[in-house]
Amino acid sequence: MIIDTQLASLFTAVALIIIGIFAAAFLDNLIKKVIGLAFIGDGVNLFIVSMGYKAGGIVYIYLPGMAADWFSQNASYPLPFAMVLTSIVIGASTMAVMLGIIIVLYKKHGSLKASEILGD
């Protein structure tokens, strides 16, 4: 069975989300937990982008000379892409705040173990 690009990238996205949740839940190192959260965000973004993809389509930029009907039937759907742009930036800023807190906590506890710092 041949899996098309869209389905394959949806699976990739789901795999990234699952890897991320696993890391955030089970790994003890705080930085690795945050890396896992970054993967969850990446996975969700990839999921959204794959939804807007159209197999055999074109980029959603309307160039002069294109017929409107042909363009509307072949262009990928740009609304999810606009969402992902915002979401990437939000994810990056959240990551920065988390890493900042981790640095402060490391100075206080001298360790990066979640079970020591965040236990109880």
């Binding site: 949740i21 955030a24 839940a25 979640a114 079970s115 965040l118 236990g119 109880d120």
Partner: protein, 111 residues
């Protein structure tokens, strides 16, 4: 040994010896209140099962009542379970995610 001492002893047993804070009058009575509130509100909530089936409701109430009576001081365990450690929180969060999604997927397809 009267009932009050029994309760205090039971709470002490479950809390273990690591907690040095003394068991005062207030903490015992609040533990008791919490216990009774928990049991009674869950039992009353179970009566809502009558909308599904009356027999199920009776069985559920009896089973839960019996289970509560056996495992009586629930609240110390409950408190221990809902602590502030990230691991415990994460466990419940992921459990809740699984439950919510499973409920919505199966609940709606089969209702």
């Amino acid at each position: 040994m009267n009932l009050y001492d029994l309760i205090v002893k039971k709470i002490k047993d479950i809390q273990g010896t690591d907690d040095e804070s003394p068991i005062t009058n207030i903490s015992t009575s609040s533990m008791l209140t919490a216990e009774i509130t928990l049991i009674s509100s869950i039992l009353v909530a179970l009566i809502m099962l009558r909308l599904v089936s009356k027999i199920l409701m009776i069985v559920a109430v009896l089973v839960v009542l019996f289970a509560f009576l056996v495992a009586m001081p629930l609240m110390p365990r409950f408190k221990k379970e809902q602590n502030d450690s990230l691991a415990a929180m994460m466990f419940y969060v992921i459990l809740a995610l699984a439950i919510v999604i499973a409920l919505f997927y199966w609940g709606n397809l089969n209702v």
